[in-house]
């Protein structure tokens, strides 16, 4: 079953912050975050492997609550280059799901000057 992302779309001014949420109905082993610009392939942002883990990448960070099967992506002091569609990909716990990612429907982020 596909994880649910919220919000579906967000519009920001440069310098503003945003949070994108990803919620799954399944027990998760990992959560992956990607950004895709129009006409391009998804670009890897980060992977979260442990419950309660939080990671950072420049002004973009993420958290993973294993018990709630939820992850959030935090974008601070947004830049024009942050515009794109953000996808979470979830890897379910369990041997047969190893390596397989199920993607949310995506969140369209638009940053204006």
């Amino acid at each position: 079953q596909q994880p649910v992302q919220s919000p579906q779309a967000v519009i920001l001014r440069e310098g503003e912050d945003a949070v994108i949420n990803c919620s799954s109905s399944k027990a998760l082993y990992s959560v992956h975050w990607y950004r895709q610009k129009h006409g391009e392939a998804p670009v890897f942002l980060m992977i979260l492997l442990k419950g309660g883990e939080q990671k950072g990448h420049e002004k973009i960070s993420a958290s993973f609550n294993e018990k709630k099967q939820q992850s959030s992506l935090y974008l601070t002091a947004s830049q024009l280059s942050y515009s794109g569609t953000y996808f979470c990909g979830t890897e379910a716990a369990g041997g047969t799901s190893y390596g397989k990612l199920t993607f949310g429907q995506g969140t369209i982020l638009t940053v204006h000057p």
């Binding site: 992956h32 392939a41 390596g99 993607f103």
Partner: protein
């Protein structure tokens, strides 16, 4: 990061024909996958490409329609057979590294007329 290449980058095909997409990954990759992204949609896993054996297909995808080969660790092909306009999509291969990170190739944009 992993270096992943695909060819062709795009193609326009007539219905009823077949197209084979090639994917080359670097030696860090341990698992290879094929995804489909229909216009304006999220990514959907087609199958896991297994080295030297039959691919593992996800629900809704069958070998007769999407035959996949992986003759060695770093190369895989996906064939879209007997194409119809509904097959118009972006087809992406991905490679998973030992730590779990998964990178995507640049994609093959397919239009079926």
């Amino acid at each position: 990061s992993a270096v992943i290449s695909q060819k062709p980058s795009r193609d326009i095909c007539q219905r009823g024909t077949s197209l084979t997409i090639q994917c080359q990954v670097d030696s860090q990759v341990t698992m290879m996958f094929w995804y489909r992204q229909q216009p304006g949609q999220s990514l959907t896993l087609i199958a896991t490409a297994n080295q030297g054996s039959e691919a593992t297909y996800e629900s809704g995808f069958v070998i007769d329609k999407f035959p996949i080969s992986r003759p060695n660790l770093t190369f895989s092909t996906l064939t879209v057979s007997n194409m119809s306009p509904e097959d118009s999509s972006i087809y992406l291969c991905s490679g998973r590294l030992a730590g779990g990170t998964q990178y995507f190739g640049p994609g093959t944009r397919l239009l079926v007329l």
